[in-house]
Symmetry: C2
Subunit: 250 residues, 2 copies
C-alpha cells in the first residue's frame, strides 16, 4: 500500500482514575498522537477529572472511543503491542521501546493500523490482554524502583515513535537577526587582541607565545561568533585597555 503511515492508537485497558486518563491524553497529544480508546474505564466516561487533567488535550484530539472489551477495541487494527513488564509464563516476543517501535513504524509504513495497549495503573496488563497482542514492549526501568506511571509510559512510547521521525535537524544554531561573522572580521579582532596582549606583555616568553596564540584563536573560533558579538568583543577589549581611573568611592 502507499498510504501515509498513520500514528498508533493508544488503548487504555481498564483505566481507573479519570485524572490518569487525562494525563495520558495530555502526554500523547503533546507528542503528536491524537487517537485514544478506552476499554471499560472504571469511573465511566466522559470524565470531568480526565478533561481537567488533560490540559485541553481531550478537547482538541479526535473524540475518545469507549469499548466494552479489548477485542472490540482492537478489532480494526492490524498490529498490537502491549506496553507492560515482561510477562511470565507466556511466550511473547519482548521488545525494547527502540526495537518495538521500529517494528511498529515498519508496519505502519506498509499501511497497517497499529495499536498500543496499556494496563490499569499499578497493575499492568493481565495475561488475557497480553495474549491479544503481537508483542510486548517493556520500558527498561530502575530495577529498584520501577513504578513508571501510566501517562509516562504513554509519553515514552509516543516519544520513541516521534523520535524515529527524522525530519528534525540534530543540532541547530539559530543566529536570529544576527549573522555569523565574516572570517576576515574575526581575523581583525584576533589580530587586534594579540596586539593588545603584546602591549600588555601578556606573553611572558618567546617559547610559549605561539601555543598561547593558537589557543586563544581556537577558543574564539570555536565559539561560532556573530558579527554583533565580534563588535561587542571589540568594545570589551577597548574598555579593558582604557586607562581610566576607577570611580571614587562615594
Amino acid at each position: 500500500m502507499t498510504t501515509q503511515p498513520t500514528n498508533p492508537i493508544i488503548i487504555l485497558v481498564d483505566p481507573q482514575l479519570g485524572e490518569n486518563i487525562g494525563a495520558a491524553a495530555r502526554a500523547m497529544f503533546n507528542l503528536g498522537l491524537d487517537e485514544l480508546r478506552l476499554v471499560k474505564p472504571r469511573d465511566g466516561w466522559p470524565s470531568l477529572a480526565a478533561d481537567k487533567n488533560s490540559a485541553g488535550a481531550l478537547a482538541q484530539m479526535q473524540p475518545v472511543q469507549v469499548f466494552e472489551t479489548l477485542a472490540e477495541a482492537i478489532a480494526d487494527l492490524h498490529y498490537v503491542m502491549a506496553a507492560t513488564a515482561r510477562p511470565r509464563d507466556m511466550l511473547k516476543p519482548v521488545y525494547t521501546p527502540k526495537s518495538g517501535i521500529e517494528e511498529c513504524r515498519t508496519r505502519a509504513a506498509e499501511g497497517q493500523k497499529i495499536g498500543w495497549i496499556f494496563g490499569p495503573e499499578r497493575m499492568g496488563l493481565i495475561n488475557d490482554a497480553i495474549a491479544k497482542s503481537h508483542g510486548v514492549i517493556t520500558i527498561p526501568t530502575n530495577p529498584d524502583f520501577s513504578s513508571l506511571n501510566l501517562a509516562q509510559s504513554v509519553a515514552l512510547l509516543a516519544y520513541e515513535w516521534l523520535r524515529g521521525d527524522d525530519d528534525i535537524p540534530d543540532k541547530v544554531l539559530d543566529p536570529g537577526d544576527s549573522f555569523p561573522v565574516e572570517q576576515k572580521k574575526l581575523e581583525e579582532f584576533l589580530t587586534r587582541l594579540e596586539d593588545e596582549l603584546e602591549t600588555k606583555r601578556f606573553f611572558r616568553t618567546e617559547e610559549i607565545r605561539p601555543t598561547m596564540k593558537r589557543n586563544i584563536r581556537n577558543m574564539f573560533t570555536r565559539a561560532d561568533l556573530t558579527d554583533q558579538e565580534v563588535r561587542t568583543l571589540h568594545g570589551m577589549v577597548s574598555a579593558l585597555i582604557e586607562q581610566r581611573k576607577p570611580p571614587e568611592p562615594k
Copy 2:
C-alpha cells in the same frame, strides 16, 4: 580520565508545586537517575507534597540538595544542558534530545559531570538561566499543543540517556520452562496436518496444493513454536478430526 561515566544531575530551577518536584523525582528515579538539585523551590524544602508524589523515590535517591542560585547549583559541573523551548534572541546551540544526550554521554565518558536544568512549570527557563548552559535541548512536541509537563520532560531526557545504554537486547523471546520444538517434531506435526487435510479434501486442486502447503508450513514455522505448543497443536488436530456427535442440547 578513566572514571565510570556518572549519570547526569537533574536541576530544577525555581520549581513551584512540591507535587511536581515529587513527580519529577519519581520519573527520574524510575529511569535510573538519582541526583536531584533544587534552586529556590517556591514552597520551601523539604516538602510533604513532594514526598508523597514521589511514590517513595525521594526516600531512596541521594539526598536532594537545595541552592539559592543556579550558579551555585552548577558550580561543580562541567557541562550543562538547558531543557527548554528554543530560546529567542540568544545564540545557543539547540539540540534534539537524541543528539543533545549523545553529546552528554560523550562528555560523561570523559569524566565530565553533567547537569540538566529545567525551568519552573508552565514558564520554562528564563534567558539568564539558559545563558549559563552550554546548549539547549528542545523536546519536539506537537506545535498545536506543547504543554509538556515538568516530570514528563525529565522522564523523556532520562529515557533518552538510558536508551543509549545498549546492554539490553532489542528483542527477547523467553520460552520460560518450555523449549523451542525440535524441528523433526515440527516436521512430524506438519506432515500429519497435511495428511489430515488431504483426507478431508482440503486441497481442492493439484495446482494449488504445493503453494498452500508451503504457506501452511511457513505459518507454523514462523511462530517459533515450543515443544509444548506442538503437543497442543496435535491435540487440537485430533480433537478437530474426531467424528463425535455434538452433545445433545439440554
